[in-house]
Chain length 363, copies 2
């Protein structure tokens, strides 16, 4: 299959949508993209599994990454694509073949950017982390991702979403002593012992810190409750799992310490955890990026809400782990991701392409 | 197999223990008991499955029931029996072949009691209620159980345990609204909503009413907690199951109404329930029973703690359902029931037999 990456970006989106690429089945589309990239001699192309890296090697003072995933969630009766005026409907149109089209079109058509660029198109973002192509590169070939700044082109409705909050989940367990419920006073009820925890969760005031100028909002949520042995037995154990989303002015160690202090008196076990990522928008390449895509300076863009916090955890934190500041920025309404009726406006794709081109061609 | 029910009650216990009768496998022992009972022409014997009823038909003014189950829990390396001085060790020695030996020995050796007696030896008490032989008789042949008073010979350490508390379990559910935990404020956390329920359970003061002279003690215990969808989702439902043990001055309808009032604001679903049974000790046959087995009048026996409340639910409530007042009374420490090291003192078996003989031979 041939795929001309220099074709108009709006027709390129459609070609990408109409080439299925569910997670684990990206090969055909990856092959087409690889051939398309290799048609442009200004790019050095590396393939790793179904993940592609294409780089300019111009010796510029700065290097930036544009990254996007190739895969989609499973089809849901939403292929092939359908064009209705400016709106392109279909699987992956929003998440994230709109952004991917911008990335690939820029790769093909910007032979002499003012910043060196590393374009990354990767596999398996929509499934478990151990299959994620970007994570694999970060762990095994980190040198391919070295840069001063990275833009992950997930749908953000054309806003800049800086950094991402971290997440940690702990099991909070109370112990008691079994007894027959007919003689409940002879036992210690572990479910009843969850009262102080629930008092605390209900009274907790999540922090709303400003980090690098951007307002974050933390959250502390019980996500699972379990306990009990039989209907006639006072239970000797109860566990409530609590998920904490913490802002990037903290880190995993501090977040865990905070939870252990809060839940003092209970058994606390960490069951999963991911680092936060600072937005890092004060780097010159990042400031220039914000100016190009929002038309105003960083401080004003923050004030206007054009630059905002990423509250959910995303792959930007993989860049953060490599000490590369990163943001999310791409066309498409993020709340439509994974929906049967996902869609993207072609004008938003074109606008995104134009803004990034301006950034990558300017000073 | 022959079993002489008129042999010394202490040797009879041992013969019963050494004839295995796990629930569902009572046939061999039931056959032996049936033959033993039929050897005594003063008894009218009816067999129903592996449940036996043997009655005197003397036309006395009062009729009483002595009942006990034939089955045991599964063996646990505790057969055959072992005699150590006065102590007989082995499966079922405590629960309840000690009481069963007393019952069968009295059946064989009291041809002319002053009260007519219905002896019941039944199957499958240790397993689910639908297999219980006494329950089956109560439902299908209630006339066989008609009486003025009943004694269930479960181990009570030789004390009289009157009536039994009722039990009701309800699922108490809170509803909320799902959201991503990164935006927890957009949802309503159903686990967090369990706070008022836990406040209530921790503050609850169980009633300790006196019923027919006997002190009961209620209990309200959370027995199961469940809820949750995923580590990154604010849960929209949480259920805590609560078991309520209520004294026999109340009934099931009142107990349910009490829980619905307490848990107002939550969804409340009844998941199981059993009626309480009043001790009914004011009946003349019951008063005479208490005097015989405790050597003092009912009021004094209560004061001395020789007559006390049955807090757990037992088969006495099956008699209560037939309007027959009933108590638990038998040799053996009830806390040893179902333990690998269960045992009974032979002198307590002999003492129990002597006291019941006195009651059934006196006025």
């Amino acid at each position: 299959m041939d795929m001309d990456l220099s074709q108009d970006v709006t027709s390129l989106v459609r070609a990408l949508v109409d080439t299925p690429s569910e997670s684990g089945s990206e090969r055909a589309l990856t092959d087409a993209i690889e051939t398309g990239l290799r048609a442009h001699p200004h790019l050095e192309v590396v393939r790793d599994g179904d993940t592609l890296v294409a780089r300019t090697r111009l010796g510029r003072a700065e290097r930036v990454v544009l990254a996007g995933h190739i895969d989609t969630v499973p089809a849901n009766g939403n292929l092939p694509s359908r064009l209705d005026g400016d709106t392109l409907w279909g699987l992956g149109s929003c998440d994230m073949k709109g952004g991917l089209a911008v990335l690939l079109h820029l790769a093909a058509t910007l032979p002499e950017p003012t910043r060196d660029i590393t374009f990354v198109a990767y596999e398996c973002e929509e499934v478990s982390a151990d299959r994620n192509g970007l994570k694999r590169l970060a762990e095994t070939r980190a040198e391919l991702l070295a840069a001063d700044f990275a833009v992950l082109m997930e749908p953000t409705d054309g806003e800049v979403e800086g950094g991402c909050q971290g997440t940690i989940t702990v099991d909070v367990t109370a112990r008691g002593a079994r007894a027959h419920t007919a003689r409940a006073w002879m036992g210690e009820n572990a479910i009843h012992k969850m009262k102080p925890l629930l008092d605390l969760l209900n009274a907790y005031e999540p922090r709303r810190p400003v980090v690098d100028g951007i307002a974050y909002r933390e959250g502390l949520s019980a996500v699972f409750a379990s306990g009990g042995i039989a209907r006639n037995v006072v239970p000797d154990a109860c566990t409530i799992s609590v998920n904490y989303r913490y802002a990037p002015d903290s880190d995993l160690a501090k977040a865990e310490a905070h939870l252990r202090e809060l839940f003092d008196g209970y058994e606390v076990t960490v069951v999963d955890a991911s680092e936060a990522a600072r937005p890092g928008l004060h780097h010159p390449a990042a400031r220039a990026f914000v100016r190009s895509v929002t038309d105003v300076d960083l401080e004003q863009a923050v004030e206007l809400g054009k630059v905002r916090a990423k509250l959910g955890w995303t792959d930007v934190s993989l860049f953060s782990g490599l000490a590369v500041p990163a943001v999310n920025f791409g066309p498409g309404d993020p709340t439509l991701a994974h929906h049967k009726d996902e869609r993207v406006s072609l004008s938003s794709v074109a606008s995104c392409e134009k803004r990034l081109r301006s950034w990558l061609s300017g000073d």
